[in-house]
């Protein structure tokens, strides 16, 4: 059996990385830390595929009527970008990598409650992703990631069934991960780890898991119904077969709006950890931040029809969903205010993860505030389905979720690999990403207000100025993503040895070796107060 190259050597000490070397020992591992690494590699590959589609789209949109790709190809590209980024990158990103790695470590457990189900969920993810990639190779799908009926069920001539089967299978991977986290957090906390001593990241993972388990089955059912209508002609959504196309939108958004919170809640958890560590302070309003996560998870189930204000629902339906959508904004605002207050009188160090955290707070604020525009009925009827919506959700998904993932990846990289990344390169990449992101997506707010619809492969000439800015920003963004890929891989071989707690962070995961031993802790830890920065020893810094 071949051995895995490039695994750092740690003389003498057994870690989860060096305990076994064969490929099989990775593919059959039940260690949550190794499964986290498997996921990390997989989602990076999928992110690269989705990102490539985005680059081609931005190049196409450089001029009003470019001939780089044809209309059909463009439609397949934005569908691919959406499906891959939503279902195969953003939804699993933080939970399956940082979550898988950190949930047991943070609560002082040796593994997740169901290690084999954890491995099985990775295989389900791979099966779903393989179907999606097969679909791409066979010619792709052109429905948009939203699979709106009756276009997807009765009109599209592309590989719709293959794509929805992929998403359907990957959905079960999410359900298993959620189930695993819920049971683990309930049953496997170490002595002293009471609910209100849980790190805020764990609260966020707990809230996310609830959505995984409750919302994902609805998506599975909905997609199965689209498949039934497409293959067997059972009339559910197509009015020609006696169905109702708006019913599909209700069912789809009943999952897909909570899914937005699946994507952002873990990021909110990461930011709480980063802000506290790099200001050496306990979080301002711990309980409010923790309960805000749960409030978002619950309220997130009650706002789905704000995607449908102009879809043909009654205006009274619109009024109810508008007011509920404003309510879900409040817990997000509470978090932003509490993070900002945490910095007050702190000891602030602007290292790479903190740069990502501050960038996140800024971009999440803009994303959240522009969400208010869309929740406002009188504005949504002008900007719905335009680039304003694209800009808004990219501020949340990329400016929020991806920035948090990058920040968390840097923060816990030494814990996962035992190696330090080059700090200066880290800071440069973080700043490049922030600039590139804003240049890409801020002009799209203006573009959307001017009226440019989304999903157009060609556009009216007066929209070009903003599109050129956006494409220029995207190229900067691409550099920002390639840099960390380079220096993080570099650090595996040449990075400095990290030690158990290089950033002087509070939290049980920092009390064990980096990388941790296969069983996480030599002795079962006993948890005290979280974020005990007032007791920590900084004399050896």
């Amino acid at each position: 059996m071949a051995s895995i190259p490039y695994i750092p050597e740690y003389s003498g000490v057994e870690t989860y990385l060096n305990t076994k070397h064969t490929v099989l020992s990775w593919l059959l591992t039940e260690d949550h830390k190794r499964i986290a690494i498997l996921y990390m590699i997989s989602i990076t590959v999928l992110f690269a595929i989705g990102g490539t589609a985005a680059v081609i789209m931005r190049l196409q949109l450089l001029t009003p009527h470019s001939n780089l790709v044809e209309a059909e190809t463009y439609n397949k590209l934005f569908t691919l970008h959406g499906i891959v980024m939503v279902f195969f990158f953003l939804v699993p990103s933080i939970p399956t990598t940082l979550g898988n790695f950190l949930v047991p470590l943070m609560i002082g457990a040796r593994d997740l409650a169901f290690p084999r189900i954890n491995l099985f969920s990775w295989y389900l993810y791979i099966a779903g992703a393989s179907l999606a990639i097969t679909c791409l190779i066979l010619g792709g799908v052109d429905t948009g990631w939203t699979f709106y009926t009756p276009y997807s069920s009765s009109f599209s001539n592309t590989h719709v069934v293959l794509a929805i089967t992929g998403v359907f299978i990957a959905g079960f991977s999410s359900i298993f991960t959620g189930l695993n986290f819920i049971v683990t957090i309930h049953k496997m906390r170490c002595p002293g780890m009471t609910w209100f001593r849980l790190p805020l990241f764990i609260w966020a993972m707990y809230a996310t898991s609830i959505i995984f388990v409750l919302a994902t089955p609805v998506l599975a059912i909905t997609l199965a119904l689209v498949g039934l209508e497409r293959i067997l002609g059972v009339g559910i959504f197509d009015p020609n077969l006696g169905g109702d196309p708006i019913l599909f939108q209700h069912l789809f958004w009943f999952y897909s709006h909570p899914a937005v919170y699946i994507m952002i809640l873990p990021g909110l958890g990461v930011i709480s950890e980063l802000v506290t560590c790099y200001s050496r302070k306990a979080p301002f309003g711990y309980a409010f931040i923790a309960m805000a996560s749960l409030a978002i998870a619950i309220l997130g189930f009650l706002v789905w029809a704000h995607h449908m204000f102009i879809a043909g629902i009654s205006i009274y339906g619109g009024l109810v969903f508008s007011v509920l959508s404003f309510l879900v904004a409040i817990p997000s605002a509470i978090k932003v205010f509490n993070w900002t207050a945490t910095l007050y009188k702190g000891s602030i160090q602007l290292d790479t993860p903190m740069l990502y955290a501050l960038g996140f707070i800024g971009l999440f604020t803009v994303g959240g505030l522009t969400g208010l525009f869309l929740a406002t009925l009188g504005i949504d009827m002008h900007v719905h389905d335009t680039y304003f919506v694209i800009a808004h959700f990219h501020y949340i998904m990329v400016g929020g979720a991806v920035m948090a993932y990058m920040g968390g990846l840097h923060f816990w990289w030494p814990k996962m690999t035992g190696k330090l990344y080059p700090e200066m390169w880290g800071r440069i990449a973080a700043v490049i990403l922030f600039i590139g992101f804003n240049l890409t997506f801020f002009p799209q707010f203006l573009l959307g207000y001017l009226g440019m619809p989304r999903r157009y492969y060609a556009y009216a000439p007066e929209f070009q100025v903003y599109n050129v800015m956006s494409t220029a920003g995207a190229s900067i963004l691409a550099i920002g993503y390639l840099l960390p890929l380079g220096y993080l891989l570099w650090s595996l071989r040449w990075g400095k040895t990290a030690g158990p707690n290089p950033f002087h962070a509070a939290g049980l995961e920092w009390t064990t070796a980096s990388p941790p031993p296969p069983d996480n802790f030599d002795e079962t830890p006993i948890a005290g107060e979280p974020y005990n920065y007032h007791e920590m020893d900084f004399s050896d810094v």
């Binding site: 276009y151 208010l372 009827m381 007066e462 920065y533």
Partner: protein, 346 residues
């Protein structure tokens, strides 16, 4: 068309300035909070930067008063946004009674438009300045969306149902018309032009097509052609004065209900007569689902709406027409793709 670079699109309807004022309010609130947050982050990051490696800051665990403050103030502000937004939205969904009704049928990938006097056009919508207009929209295939950014309105156009949008054009000019709901390969080309002209120019334009036939007239011919008059008004329920009135029906589950005879009800009853059967009548009517196009349905619905007195439904005595007049949309071709339009207007 005016294609100069600008920050805000032109305001060309009664709704546009309402929406823009609302937006400016939200922009003001957003700028205030952005400056507050960004300012605080920047100030704290500089003021409280780590000055020595072993610095240990004083711990502050929270303040209930502050938490209540930053919960209640945003809550109140968002409720103002909700109420204001709801007011604009509800107004934008209540057309005045004197609105002129124009019919729009979306199909992959064109807009077929019919004016009340009968003139039809494709991918162009002529409108008289200052006249309230109500659009009745439907689709004959997938979901589309009829969006006019200069008017600040859009509405999904859904197969199997009628949706509406209304506005008063307030500025002469040519404006973009977009399909905003993804509808397949040429979604981006399902665009066109809204031409707002003076009422006199609009009348002149209407008179330009001598063969044009108002929908109600075309509907009357269809009503005769398909022999609707052989039952309705005799064995079948009378249609005179029906529109807008309550009807006692038995639905497909056998339940007795009262429904209002609106456009959607009329359309459904022509396509699926047994879904809402008028109480007291047997189900004798065949389905016209595979017989009538969306245009013909609209014509029939307009004809039925026009029937106000009993005399109108008297058995048709005139000659039966030959082969059904096909909707003229099928014969019309798009002379210029929307993008040809963009180019000529540069």
């Amino acid at each position: 068309m005016d294609t100069t670079f600008r920050l805000f699109p032109r305001e060309a309807s009664q709704l546009a300035s309402q929406v823009d004022h609302l937006v400016l309010f939200l922009v003001a609130v957003s700028v205030f909070f952005s400056v507050l947050i960004f300012g605080a982050l920047t100030y704290f990051a500089i003021r409280y930067r780590r000055r020595s490696p072993d610095e240990r800051p004083e711990q502050i665990h929270g303040s209930t008063l502050l938490e209540i403050t930053w919960t209640v103030i945003p809550l109140m502000l968002t409720m103002v946004m909700f109420a204001w937004g709801a007011k604009v939205f509800v107004t934008a969904h209540r057309p005045p009674d004197d609105a002129m009704e124009i019919f729009v049928i979306g199909k992959q990938w064109m807009w077929k438009i019919q004016h009340p006097e009968g003139r039809r056009e494709i991918n162009t919508l002529h409108l008289p300045l200052g006249q309230p207009v109500k659009l009745t929209l439907t689709s004959q295939d997938v979901i589309h969306d009829f969006s006019i950014p200069a008017f600040r309105v859009k509405q999904d156009v859904v197969p199997g149902m009628y949706t509406n949008e209304w506005f008063v054009p307030t500025r002469i000019g040519e404006y973009h018309l977009f399909c905003d709901q993804y509808c397949g390969a040429k979604h981006a080309e399902m665009a066109g032009t809204v031409v707002v002209c003076t009422p006199a120019d609009y009348q002149r334009w209407l008179a330009g097509d001598l063969t044009a036939e108002p929908p109600a007239v075309a509907g009357k011919k269809l009503f005769a052609l398909y022999g609707c008059n052989t039952c309705h008004g005799q064995y079948g329920p009378t249609l005179a004065g029906l529109y807008g009135t309550p009807v006692q029906v038995i639905d497909q589950h056998g339940n007795r209900r009262t429904v209002i005879a609106d456009e959607a009800y009329l359309r459904e009853s022509i396509l699926y007569p047994d879904v809402k059967l008028v109480t007291g009548y047997p189900n004798r009517m065949p389905s016209f689902k595979s017989t009538l196009s969306e245009e013909q349905l609209l014509d029939l619905v307009q004809y039925i709406k026009s029937l106000t007195g009993a005399a109108e439904t008297a058995p048709y005595k005139g000659p039966l027409l030959g082969p059904a007049t096909q909707p003229s949309g099928a014969e019309l071709r798009i002379e210029n793709s929307p993008f040809a339009n963009y180019r000529t207007n540069q």
